[in-house]
């Protein structure tokens, strides 16, 4: 039997297949590894599209909460023995995105990890330290070794954190309802005149009351400003308002008009313009979830990007202190920890 087992281990080490899931920024260094630049097929590694044929999962960067759920399900589908390795710093400690509300900070809180490649990002060459280690290691493992396991309380942890976020959101909206917010904000409608011009950037800033925003944008659309660039918001808790900028531009000439308006923080509501500019449908969705502005007349206002990522209060509001919360929940109160 000894000989057969050796043979199985040897064959395994020569045919490591990686599940093709490019989860984050670190994955951009994989094409050189896979193609002729470094050619990892020298070692028998290969990316495969389905988890059911793969042996290896490589964490390549930050773990957004939504992606991590995908990763856990992939791992559940992979046959034994399966291995988990990790490159990139965000996977190990949170890295540069230590204060992000949308990422989990450590992969080994959810599964066993065989090896780590530090770097932000590790270069393609750096991954070969891991690959050669792995190549030799798998040969020595007993045949019935199951490899890296998912930790049994992985889903439990996720549920617990999401519950905490939800509680915070409830608290936030409750306290916002209770507090008196006075609106002291100077504003004068100037549309269609420019309040300010910037010749070199071809910008024109104009102001309009929130109630007349649709009218103003419709007029601009008819004047040839048919391309919507963006909707910007600036939260000003001191003044009790949220400034909203609609940026539309005229292609070919490149002229831009910034239409500025404001909504009170407490009842942040404004008319939707998705029927004038079709792209606004999606920008409004994003503004709604991140800034907490309601768009009247939007057909399907819901959580979109934050869905599955963040249950807490709107993260871009200035009175929502995300870093403090993240440090408390994910770093045990020590900001410089891992």
């Amino acid at each position: 039997m000894g000989l057969l087992e050796d043979f199985v281990a040897w064959a395994r080490s020569k045919s490591m297949w990686l599940v093709h899931y490019c989860a984050a920024c670190g994955a951009i260094e994989f094409p050189p590894v896979v193609t002729s630049v470094l050619d990892w097929e020298r070692y028998g590694y290969m990316p495969v599209p389905t988890p059911r044929q793969s042996d290896l999962y490589a964490g390549m960067g930050y773990l957004t909460k939504k992606s991590l759920k995908v990763v856990l399900r992939l791992l559940e589908q992979m046959p034994n023995p399966k291995w988990v390795v990790a490159g990139c710093n965000c996977t190990a400690t949170g890295g540069l995105y230590w204060d992000s509300y949308a990422t989990y900070k450590r992969l080994d809180e959810f599964m066993q990890v065989e090896g780590w490649v530090p770097g932000c990002m590790p270069t393609s060459d750096d991954w070969f330290a891991l690959l050669t280690y792995f190549y030799n290691k798998v040969k020595e493992r007993p045949v019935n070794d199951k490899g890296s396991r998912k930790l049994s309380d992985a889903w439990e942890k996720i549920r617990k954190w999401e519950e905490m976020e939800r509680e915070w959101a409830e608290e936030y909206w409750e306290s916002l309802k209770k507090t008196e917010i006075k609106v002291n904000y100077q504003f004068e409608e100037k549309f269609p005149e420019c309040v300010e011009r910037n010749e070199s950037l071809k910008l024109c800033l104009t102001t309009v009351e929130a109630g007349r925003i649709r009218e103003a944008l419709k007029k601009l659309y008819d004047e040839g400003y048919t391309l919507i660039n963006n909707i910007n918001t600036v939260d000003l808790p001191k003044n009790g308002v949220i400034e909203v900028y609609y940026i539309v531009e005229k292609p070919l000439e490149g002229d831009q008009v910034w239409v500025k308006t404001y909504v009170p923080r407490k009842e942040a509501e404004i008319d939707s313009i998705h029927d004038i500019y079709s792209l606004a449908y999606y920008i409004e969705l994003e503004t709604h979830e991140k800034m907490g502005i309601k768009f009247r007349g939007h057909p399907n206002l819901r959580k979109w990007i934050l869905e599955g990522n963040w249950e807490g209060p709107p993260p871009l509001r200035k009175d929502v202190d995300i870093p403090k919360w993240v440090i408390k929940v994910h770093y045990g109160g020590y900001a410089y920890g891992r």
């Binding site: 193609t35 957004t64 939504k66 992000s100 391309l227 490149g254 993260p315």
Partner: protein, 370 residues
């Protein structure tokens, strides 16, 4: 969004773990047999919350984080942030820094287009040209590694100039890299664009006409392929783009094939800009000015032409060490939402065509999520 007309159809979840998906994003596809009748983007797999993180970091620390927004084309945003802060401070940076920033910006565009060429070749089943594009991109990355010390994320263009002086052999290095890329790109062009399989999969497929494209919010090469010659570098010149000669390649039909052709032509134009700019980089010239630690209240805006379209960076300062608000435009949002919906409505898109059309639009998944 699935109305009654699609209620009898099959809903298929496409991505995020799918080699045909352009990165870590998913789609809900409603299918009638083979045909896609509606597609809805499911984003959020790459969310980090940049705007909030940038508001939590000091001005000089933000040079490290802002551009991670889009990993395939970080240099455009790096330049955009540096420009926005320069404008906010009303500083004019040294000439040499401007030229080097432009070279970095153009090399970034080339790397991004070549990365797209790899994805595109892969999605029509032509692995060969994909491998060559990665090799050509590797030359760009090596240039970056030598000059700025990182392959992908550079943190080199900073408010006030560039981070450090360029190496002594900068000119030779740049010209040699440009020559190597040009040689490879010519081969890729010939092998990919003239290939009959590629033509069959892309010609007349995924048509977005000029007028429509504007209304859908599309900018960049996908708009130019539809015949609208709109380029921020020409329309609203920044850095020294008004001092170099280059053309804006445009297409006619606005189909997937034209978009591919425009991108390859753009690589050649970028090389042309690099060759002009490198002549102006003189050793010994100043390359950076020191900026104050605190920034006065105000607003800085930058508009840059990235590899996928117009980036707009809006920074608001209320004084102090940190930006009060940072807002970035997502260039890929129209490509992945309105554009693909438009195509599906107007054409018979089968499930096999879907990744090819999406690939030809070259969306960058992380920049939708931020």
């Amino acid at each position: 969004m699935a109305g009654e007309s699609v209620s009898k159809s099959l809903m298929l979840y496409f991505g995020p773990q799918h080699p045909g998906a352009p990165g870590n994003v998913a789609y809900k596809l409603w299918l009638d047999g083979e045909r896609v009748i509606d597609a809805e983007l499911v984003p959020g797999f790459l969310l980090r919350g940049f705007e909030m993180m940038m508001e939590n970091r000091a001005w000089e620390m933000n040079i490290v984080i802002g551009y991670r927004f889009c990993v395939e084309d970080p240099d455009s945003l790096e330049l955009g942030y540096a420009e926005a802060v320069d404008r906010l401070l009303k500083y004019d940076i040294p000439e040499k820094a401007k030229w080097v920033r432009m070279i970095q910006h153009e090399f970034g565009r080339i790397a991004s287009h070549l990365f797209w060429a790899n994805h595109m070749s892969g999605s029509v089943g032509l692995r060969t040209t994909g491998f060559w594009s990665i090799a050509a991109r590797e030359e760009v990355l090596k240039w970056f590694y030598k000059v700025v010390g990182h392959r992908i994320y550079h943190s080199f263009s900073v408010p006030g100039g560039i981070r450090w002086d360029v190496p002594k052999d900068f000119k030779e290095l740049t010209l040699k890299t440009a020559d190597k890329i040009e040689e490879l790109v010519k081969d890729i062009e010939a092998a990919l664009l003239k290939n009959s399989v590629f033509k069959a999969r892309t010609k007349g497929v995924g048509v977005i006409k000029g007028e429509d494209a504007i209304k859908l919010g599309i900018t960049g090469p996908s708009l130019r392929a539809a015949g609208v010659s709109y380029d921020i570098r020409k329309a609203v010149p920044y850095e020294n783009y008004d001092k170099v000669k280059f053309d804006i390649p445009t297409g006619e039909n606005g189909d997937s094939y034209d978009r591919a052709v425009v991108r390859f032509k753009e690589i050649h134009q970028s090389l042309r800009i690099i060759r002009q700019a490198v002549e102006e980089v003189k050793p010994g010239d100043p390359w950076r000015i020191k900026l104050p630690l605190t920034v006065p209240p105000g607003t800085g805006i930058a508009r840059v032409e990235a590899a996928r379209g117009e980036y707009m960076i809006h920074v608001v300062s209320q004084g102090g060490r940190k930006p009060y608000r940072v807002r970035l435009r997502s260039v890929s949002l129209p490509l992945m939402t309105t554009a693909i919906k438009h195509v599906i409505k107007n054409e018979e898109v089968t499930i096999a065509d879907f990744p090819v059309i999406l690939g030809s639009l070259d969306p960058c998944a992380p920049d939708i999520d931020r």
